[in-house]
Each structure stands twice: as C-alpha cells, then as structure tokens.
Symmetry: C2
Subunit: 286 residues, 2 copies
Amino acid sequence: MANLDQDKWFTEISDRDGSAFSLRINKKLDEKQSPFQKVEMYDTTDFGNLMIIDGCTMVTTRENFFYHEMISHPALYSHPNPKNVVIIGGGDCGTLREVLKHPSVETAHQIDIDEVVTEMSLKYFPELCESNADPRAKVMFDDGIKYMAEAAPESIDVIIVDGTDPVGPGEGLFNHAFYTSCLKALRSGGILVQQSESPLMHMPLLIEMRQAMLDVGFVDLQTLPFPQPIYPSGLWSVTLARKDEKFASFREGDAQQAPFETEYYNAGIHHGALATPGFMKRAFNK
Amino acid sequence: MANLDQDKWFTEISDRDGSAFSLRINKKLDEKQSPFQKVEMYDTTDFGNLMIIDGCTMVTTRENFFYHEMISHPALYSHPNPKNVVIIGGGDCGTLREVLKHPSVETAHQIDIDEVVTEMSLKYFPELCESNADPRAKVMFDDGIKYMAEAAPESIDVIIVDGTDPVGPGEGLFNHAFYTSCLKALRSGGILVQQSESPLMHMPLLIEMRQAMLDVGFVDLQTLPFPQPIYPSGLWSVTLARKDEKFASFREGDAQQAPFETEYYNAGIHHGALATPGFMKRAFNK
C-alpha cells in the first residue's frame, strides 16, 4: 500500500465519505489563524497554489474555474436581467470576478466574514481578485447571515451563497432562517444559488437543503452537477432556487454570445447540467 | 497534516498528477497474481467493493456506472444501427452489460487478456456480470491487439477499447498499429471508442491519441468528458472516432426512449458531454 510522506503531501481525509485526497507540495507558503478559522497556503507540484481552511482543501490555481464558473453563470443566465448581485462568502473573490463579467450587473456586493481569506487570495490568487477594483464591486467583511437578515426587501436579483461546508462558520447558511431572509431580499423573479455538496456522496444533505428552500417559499429548484477535482468524489453541485416562478429556459442566446471567455461553462454544458442523471432524479423523487 | 493509517486505507499515488486518492477499507477480500498483473479486492467503508490492478484503483461498486455508461451509450447511440460490437479489455464485464441493453445489438464479443479480472468480477461485482450468459455475448480471454489484427475486414460496427492506462498490458492499445487494425475491421459508418484519460490532467496524451486516430484514417472525433470519482482529478473522458464520415447527431429520440434505466447517461447528458469546454477546445486547436 502506498505511503504518503507527510512532508511532501497535503492530505484531506473526508471521514463522512470514507475517502481522502492528497496533493503533492513543494512547500508551505503561508499560514494565518483568523478569529474564525485557520487558513493555510501551499505551493503544489501540479495544481498551482492551494488554499486550505481548517484542514479542508478549498481552492487551487489549476481547477477553481469549474466551481467559480458554475456557481455564477448558470444563475446569472437563468435570470432575465440580473442587475444587483450579492455574494455571501466567496472570500477568494473568484465568484465576484465571474459575476462582473456580465454586462447587465450594476452592483456586486461580496460579504465574507473572514478578511484573512481575501488577504491570502490577493497574495496567492491575484488572478481571482483582478475585478475587486471594478466600480460595481463592493468587498465587505461582515456576517453574511446578519447582512441578509437586514437587507432591504426586494432589492436583489441574484444571491450567491459561496460558503464552506455546513460546519463551522458556514453552518448558518444552510437553514430556514437564512433562506427566509434571502427570499425576502430577492426581487420578483430573483434567484438564490448555493453550492450544494456532492450529489454522489451527500444526497441526504442535498435533499434537506432543497426541502428547506421549498419550505420557506421558493417556488422552483434546479440542482446542477459539475466536476470539482479537489472536493470529495470529484463531483459537486450548485442548487438554484427561484423566488416566485418556475424556471424558464435560460438565456441561451446570450450564453452562446458571451462577451467573455470561459474555461468550462458554455450553453451546452448548462443544458447538460440541467439533464439530471437518473441517480439524482430518483433520489429527489423519493 | 492528516495521517492515513495504512491498515485502514488504500491509497493510490498518481505520480504524474501530483495527487493521491484513498478509500477507507474494512478488509482485504482477495488477491491474485495473474500472468499479466496483480489483482486485489477490498471491501471499503463507503464505496462498496474495490478492485485494484497493479496498485491502481479500477472499479468500485458505488460509482462504476459513470464509466460503464459513458464508454457504451454515447458510441452506440451515435451509430445508426449497431449490430456487431467488440469490447477490447473490459474484463469486469460492466461495459458488456451496458452494450447488451441495446436491442439492435446482435453480437457483443469481449476480449480481455486476463481471465483473473473476470473471475474476480464474477465474485465481487456479480451485478456487472449479469449479462455474461446473454446468447449474444461471447466472453473471450485473449490478446485484444492480436484479435483486432486478425478480425475480418468490415465486420464490426462499434469497437470499445475499455483498457487500463497506456502502461503495462494496456500500452499496445494506444498506437497507430492498433488503430489501423480497428479501422480495417469496422464497417462503413463504424465507430471506435476508447477511454481517453483525464482531460484536465492528461491533455498531451489525449491529443496524441486523437492525432494517432486521425493519422490512420479516422475521419471525425468526439471527446466526451464525464465524472469519474476514483480516477485522478475525478474527471475522465472517452474519445469516439468515426471510420469514414463525420459524426451526425446521435439517435436522440432512441436515447430519450431507452428501454432501460441508467444512473448517469441520458440524452441531455450526451448533449452536454458534446459541448466541449473552453479549456479542452483550446488545447485541441493548438
């Protein structure tokens, strides 16, 4: 059985999944304990820089595009005219960058509780932060749950919940109270989108999240799977919830004529992600 | 940094990728050294049974459906009327099972060099072998390269190369001589499909494979990505090569009305897999 030299590898054990994933490292770059969590940075041999939060792999240079594109573009192209966008979490600023690629967006407010994540990202993932100075962007460090609870009613078109797993500071982002705040803050036609874990490994959690969204009054849901190489099972998902109407087709023409390049997302990928595989469909219908 | 107790985890280190993947095991079930390779079986805590060949994770109960469906159904639904199918490799018999779900198929011949793989699969993945006794099936243990070299010209509609990585016994399945044999053995309109590694991690190999297929005379190619949780990067691919004409649309109506259930594949997933992401498109066009 292979033995991983702990000086050369970073390993994340996922106890709930019975799996572990390791990346080979050249060296540790940084470490900072914030009031909320421990943030570590490594230089890996094959994945570029790697951000670890409380022992969990979060972001690498090489493959973060899957996640950042899929948490942004499907929701924004499903809204007819997204002007005001709020990102809860998202401290690495990669989601903010994708959102600001949409010409219809007039404001994009990012509220992450932990400034240290953004400090580290500015230093080690500067490409993800390249739109932080966009005049439409506002980068805040505050409690996203409180921010949403106090948001003006019907003031937001798209809310993106780009948080960690439902443990630690991310826990309050997966419950009825938070979803109720989001529903209230969305305009008619508005969309909430949240990272929703692995459809292969975490189906009970995903079903619970979907049920909570429906419970508070969201009218329609879409769960889109996509590749996520460094997270357990390599398959992740986002769940979109629409405030007061069923999802219509997304703006396919606009997606095909996107005024920006993507690494993963395109109109066909969007269609494919909406073609829920049998194993997910049957779990949702149980 | 997390430490993996070697008695409780099976770890595969992928040196070429700078990554490693581990599954937690309850116990070792079996081990057999064949003339070609070492085959091991484990009972895992969360992925069911696990087959290891020469230290590499090959198949688990929980997620093999991604691979087996994606190496079979896209190719079979891209052929107008696949009657005679040959599988090179595929000793776990999961691909054979998927192929035989297609009512048009009259013969499905599987040629794997190593009988031990099928012995192990019969014992530990009986569900994958449930169609081995189908009168249309013929399970042979022989050299697939030799088999294809000696196959009658224009006798096969779909050739599925379900082999290991291009090292060890699988090496000869990735070269001009083998592809030339396949081209000759295919009928007009015929399709060769081969597992083609990770588009995220192994693009040079994938490009080389595609070029070799074109070099020998295949007229059109399609590379379809799909999730593959236990292989490096969690994202894998199959490449389809068409003998003497461009790929037309696949038989979408038939795929929508498939007379069998699938866990992953469906017509929408097929479309999505054909919507080549930017990072792959740009690499192919270089």
